[in-house]
């Protein structure tokens, strides 16, 4: 064994013991049966998976899927524009933008979300401002709504989109844009026919990096959306913590994992086919 392989050994061991093994346990448990008072009984069944595909749970899944998809699309649009202007800014400005992009990560997610709640909450700047201006508003709808949820999701996951895109934009040959201009293409045409096709890999990578965590996200929708709709993340948590139905929770987790790994595999496959 080479020395540098030895350096990887601790990481590999850690991965095996704390990630692979627990996942294996989850998979095994997903085929077991819930005991009468919670707990796991080792009677093998596919019942958990059948239940996961019942309309009620599929509905929850689609709700989550929709949120993740909208978040990804918004991040994609905003991310392309931000990383475009970042990459074409002067070197000094670029550093400031990068810093501003990464800075929120130095604070805790829950604190950031609560900061947003304070802002829109009773006696927060928004409501105070609206009261002074005499604009009528519904305090309940203002503090908990889908726009806020989307805002929280997008601001949280945007850096995952921007960073790969920014890297790709930095390497992008902007003389291609000039060539397209010279040949008669307008701004939108250039964006769609020259810039985006050449950033495909980064676009896919960024989308996956946003989509995967947002599919399991439930803290942000809970805190900013008023926990009105159950999402897939909540559903799983509840199985483990409240309903004490570990096998069903495990089955839901396995399904989610299969879906996300499938997406990642599709991405790799696309890479392999189009890459050099």
């Amino acid at each position: 064994m080479k020395l540098r392989d030895l350096f990887l050994l601790p990481a590999a061991l850690w991965f095996a013991v704390f990630i692979l093994l627990p996942l294996l346990i989850v998979v095994v448990v997903s085929f077991a049966t819930r005991g009468t008072y919670g707990g796991v009984e080792w009677a093998w069944t596919l019942q958990n998976y059948a239940r996961a595909f019942s309309p009620r749970y599929l509905g929850i899944f689609f709700e989550s899927f929709q949120l993740a998809l909208v978040t990804t699309v918004v991040c994609l649009v905003v991310g392309v524009l931000i990383s475009w202007s970042m990459a074409t800014a002067s070197a000094k400005l670029r550093q400031i933008y990068l810093m501003a992009m990464v800075l929120p990560f130095l604070t805790n997610l829950v604190i950031r979300i609560y900061a947003v709640r304070m802002f829109v909450g009773a006696e927060g700047p928004l409501q105070t401002g609206l009261t002074i201006l005499g604009v009528p508003f519904d305090p309940y709808a203002l503090t908990q709504n889908k726009v806020l949820v989307l805002y929280g999701m997008v601001t949280t996951y945007l850096p995952f989109m921007v960073l790969p895109l920014y890297g790709a934009f930095e390497k992008f040959d902007f003389s291609l844009v000039e060539a397209a201009q010279d040949l008669g293409a307008g701004l939108w045409k250039i964006l769609f026919s020259v810039i985006l096709p050449n950033l495909k890999t980064a676009l896919w990578a960024g989308s996956l990096l946003v989509f995967i965590p947002s599919l399991g996200e439930y803290v942000i929708p809970d805190l900013l959306g008023g926990a009105k709709n159950m999402l897939y993340g909540n559903l799983i948590t509840e199985q483990f913590l409240k309903s004490r139905d570990w096998p069903f929770g495990a089955a839901l987790s396995v399904l989610m994992m299969v879906l996300l790994l499938g997406l990642a595999a599709l991405f790799r496959l696309r890479e392999a086919r189009h890459g050099k």
Binding site: S175, L176, E178, D182, G184
Partner: protein, 292 residues
């Protein structure tokens, strides 16, 4: 005819171009020659519309074109590193400008075939740019620009990315192509040999000023400004003392003591040993294809 009237360009604190006046005739091969940073590329980009001038006007046949965006100007550019779209095939690259103009599919196909035949690249139509050599990419870049039938073709250091042998070959091709089409070419280069070989006229630029505009032969034999003479002299004119003469072969001792031999064209009655003499290093290429 393309006319530049008093073109000036300044970036925040620096002046990049100062009062450039120039008129370039129909079907002329015009080169802008100068060291890097002299403003020649900026001038070309201003003509293309990729940058805007701070002052001055650009006229094409008496009509102002400087207010048009790059997209609307009847000029096309061959970029220094070709700027071929890497995600498109050669054919798609060439079709890009035609599609934007809304030509029919058949017309586009016909034009692609025609222009690829012109640059002798017919069999490369379905290749991606990253599978082409430098010379092939160069030809595709020229084809992509020419297919739009521009009034003026702008070339930004078109041959600088090629190796020496390929460069000489492409020089000939470019010149032949230009004469065949009778199209106006404006070529930016820092390579004086290239400029002398290709051009009908050369504009020598230095620090944002157009120092001299004349034919290669004039620039070579009678440089007007000190800068122009220095630029041409740098590699091709030697000064020395005549030390020996036999028949029409003269031996000249250069400043560093080395001796060179060459044919002499000074009238016999003016020849004196020890006289100061200028020797030009000529190459077959120097005065262009036309005078050979």
């Amino acid at each position: 005819m393309l006319e530049l009237l008093n073109i000036g360009k300044s970036f925040s604190s620096q002046t990049a171009l100062k009062g450039i006046n120039l008129s370039i005739g129909e079907g002329e091969f015009f080169s802008l020659l100068g060291p890097s940073g002299c403003g020649k590329t900026t001038l070309l980009r201003i003509i293309a519309g990729l940058e805007s001038a701070t002052s001055g006007q650009i006229l094409l046949d008496g009509q102002r074109v400087d207010q048009l965006p790059a997209q609307k100007r009847p000029f096309n550019m061959v970029f220094q590193r070709y700027a071929l779209f890497p995600h498109m095939t050669v054919g798609e690259n060439i079709a890009y400008g035609l599609r934007l103009r809304g030509l029919s599919k058949d017309a586009i196909e016909a034009k692609i075939a025609e222009v690829l035949a012109l640059v002798d690249m017919g069999e490369f139509r379905d290749r991606k740019p990253d599978t082409l050599s430098g010379g092939q990419s160069q030809r595709v870049a020229v084809a992509r620009a020419l297919v739009n039938e521009p009034r003026v073709l702008l070339l930004d250091e078109p041959l600088s990315a090629l190796d020496h042998k390929m460069r000489e070959h492409m020089q000939k091709e470019l010149r032949a192509l230009q004469q065949k089409l009778g199209l106006t070419f404006i070529c930016v280069t820092h390579d004086q040999e290239e400029a002398l070989a290709l051009s009908d006229r050369i504009g020598i630029m230095s620090r944002g000023v157009l120092e001299q505009v004349s034919s290669p032969r004039e620039i070579y034999e009678n440089p007007e400004t000190i800068f122009a003479s220095q630029f041409v002299e740098a590699t091709s004119m030697l000064r020395g003392e005549l030390v020996e003469i036999s028949e029409d072969l003269a031996t000249i001792r250069l400043g560093d003591g080395s001796l060179i031999k060459g044919k002499i064209n000074v009238p016999p009655d003016q020849i004196r040993l020890g006289m100061s003499i200028e020797a030009y290093v000529r190459k077959a290429m120097v005065f262009g294809e036309r005078t050979k």
